[in-house]
């Protein structure tokens, strides 16, 4: 497997992480670890500028450098890398989507996840511990059977389980049938799981940097420079104008703002989505449980804390915090499924801004402005797609035309009606 240890001219060669290296550094009192990426001054011109240094933006830069031999690339980030939604999600990775277009996209990502730690030479702690999507009524079960069958036709693993099988996988879950919304069964994707979200951003950043990509943090894009209908650069608050032949915007909740700079609109609404982490407790849950009907999802991290998520706030918001009623509803849902965690305290609660599209599918597309490309609208489920999103967007940025996977996710589908309606098909309704 190729590793990102090749160095661009002028970039010091990066040493590989290995078990031997760990031992070596331990004897050197952990004081000589190499820097993970540089902190370069921006050049005046790049071949490709990527706005947004989250997982998707960094993955795009990495695959551009690796697959397409582009090295004159900058990633411009307003804050610090991975400080936005990459560090705010509940780290679930799965690919059991109903429609062919979405299934191909997320399965493409899943296949990249499976070799990602080796590819990046960085442990992203991808753990294929399986995901259960519960059904609580007859219609849920019909939808689950339909989705699992669709998945299997697309070569994606999936099984329909009954309540007893669910109880075997998750003994602490109340599958008794005496609850208000009894667990009737579930869809089960064994290859799904979780990954360490920060490590994904750091691994891609380190990988991209090793190829010579400039990662420019603390630099806010305040305008997109357009000449004769084509984007030619970005205006930044800290470093003036940075010129680029092609610009890729991967800015999640702020995509609408950037599109506004370029003079067009996106069919996106930004909503707060919140998550919670409990105090660490002993291992009780070695998989991911999601429920559409009672509307909550939970996994347990390696540290032992319960990672819980739920629905978005119904209104437009940029506040990076969630509303109190949603906290209450989420806890209702979790306690319905796991009554014995009722005394567990929540340590932290936070919100991220998700960019939701009318059909709950992303936009990976050219735009009305030439040389300007957008990868946005991932809504509530962007993390699971990080490597796949970066991979297909890198292809789009390098060639100027979308490949077969990205093509259905074009910007114009909201006007010609070719929507990919994943709203009801996703494991959790949003």
């Amino acid at each position: 497997m190729a590793t990102p240890t090749r160095s661009a001219p002028g970039i010091p060669r990066m040493s590989r992480f290995s078990g031997f290296g760990l031992i070596k550094q331990a004897y050197r009192h952990q004081e000589h670890w190499q820097r993970m990426w540089r902190n370069p001054k921006p050049k005046k011109h790049y071949d490709i500028v990527i706005v947004g240094g989250g997982g998707h933006g960094l993955a795009t830069a990495f695959y551009l450098a690796k697959m397409h031999d582009k090295v004159n690339i900058a990633v411009i980030e307003k804050g610090w890398i991975g400080g936005g939604n990459t560090g705010r999600n509940t780290t679930i990775v799965r690919s059991n989507y109903l429609w062919d277009e979405a299934a191909h996209l997320y399965e493409h990502a899943m296949k990249l996840w499976e070799g990602l730690s080796q590819e990046l030479n960085y442990n992203v702690m991808f753990s294929q511990r399986g995901v259960l999507n519960l059904g609580h009524n007859l219609q849920d079960m019909r939808d689950i059977e339909r989705r699992v069958n669709a998945n299997r036709l697309n070569g994606i693993d999936g099984e329909v389980l009954d309540a007893q099988q669910c109880a075997q996988i998750v003994p602490i879950m109340d599958c008794s049938g005496s609850t208000r919304y009894p667990v009737l069964g579930a869809s089960w994707q064994p290859r799904a799981g979780v990954a360490r979200h920060d490590a994904v951003a750091w691994g891609f950043a380190r990988g991209a940097d090793s190829y010579g990509v400039d990662i420019i943090q603390q630099t806010e894009v305040t305008d997109i420079v357009i000449e004769d209908g084509a984007a030619v650069g970005v205006q930044t608050a800290q470093h003036g104008v940075i010129k680029a032949d092609r610009i890729g915007c991967v800015t999640a909740g702020n995509s609408g703002v950037l599109a506004g700079y370029a003079g067009f609109e996106l069919p996106i609404e930004s909503h707060p989505l919140q998550a919670y982490v409990s105090e660490p407790i002993k291992p009780i849950l070695d998989t991911v449980v999601m429920s559409n009907a009672v509307h909550g999802y939970m996994s347990q991290s390696d540290k032992g804390d319960l990672v819980i998520g739920a629905g978005i706030d119904g209104y437009v918001g940029y506040g990076q915090r969630g509303s109190f009623p949603v906290i209450e509803h989420t806890m209702h849902a979790i306690l319905e499924l796991f009554p014995q965690v009722s005394r567990v305290h929540m340590n932290r609660q936070w919100g991220g801004i998700v960019d939701t599209t009318p059909d709950a599918c992303p936009i990976i597309s050219k735009t009305p402005v030439e040389n300007l490309f957008f990868n946005c609208g991932w809504g509530t489920g962007g993390f699971k797609a990080t490597p796949g999103s970066g991979h297909v967007f890198a292809d789009l940025l390098a060639k100027g035309e979308p490949n077969a996977i990205a093509k259905p996710f074009n910007y114009w589908r909201f006007r010609d009606g070719s929507l990919i309606d994943e709203h009801g098909a996703a494991g959790v309704a949003h």
Partner: protein, 114 residues
């Protein structure tokens, strides 16, 4: 938790009694048969999504059941005003509000806001 003033009940009530129903002041097309696909797409799917002062429709679902308009800041979550459907809210100096009731220019609102 929002405390929202329902202009019909004339009371401040908790957010849980209400549902947000999207952007306000979106008139239904008067002549649907003559609309192009592009115009339909705009009407159905494109919303202002403003960061700053935003006009939105809420419904008092667990109360009177009526729809009304809210002027709210989507960054600070401050509610400036609520008013009945069909009414017009006078714009203040800090809002650059267009005929559809939304802040027209993302750039101005954003730069001044940050």
């Amino acid at each position: 938790m929002f405390l929202i003033h329902c202009p019909y009940c004339e009371e401040h009530r908790e957010e849980e009694e209400f549902h947000a129903a999207g952007q306000a002041h979106l008139p239904r097309p008067l002549d649907p048969d003559s609309m192009t696909d592009e115009q339909w797409g705009d009407y159905l799917f494109y919303r202002k999504n403003t960061r700053g002062e935003y006009r939105e429709l809420w419904v008092h679902a667990a109360g009177c059941g009526k729809y009304f308009n809210v002027s709210r800041n989507t960054q600070t979550y401050e509610i400036y005003a609520t008013y009945k459907t069909g009414e017009v809210l006078e714009s203040t100096s800090q809002m650059s509000v267009g005929p559809t009731g939304s802040v027209l220019n993302y750039r101005t609102a954003d730069k001044e806001g940050s």
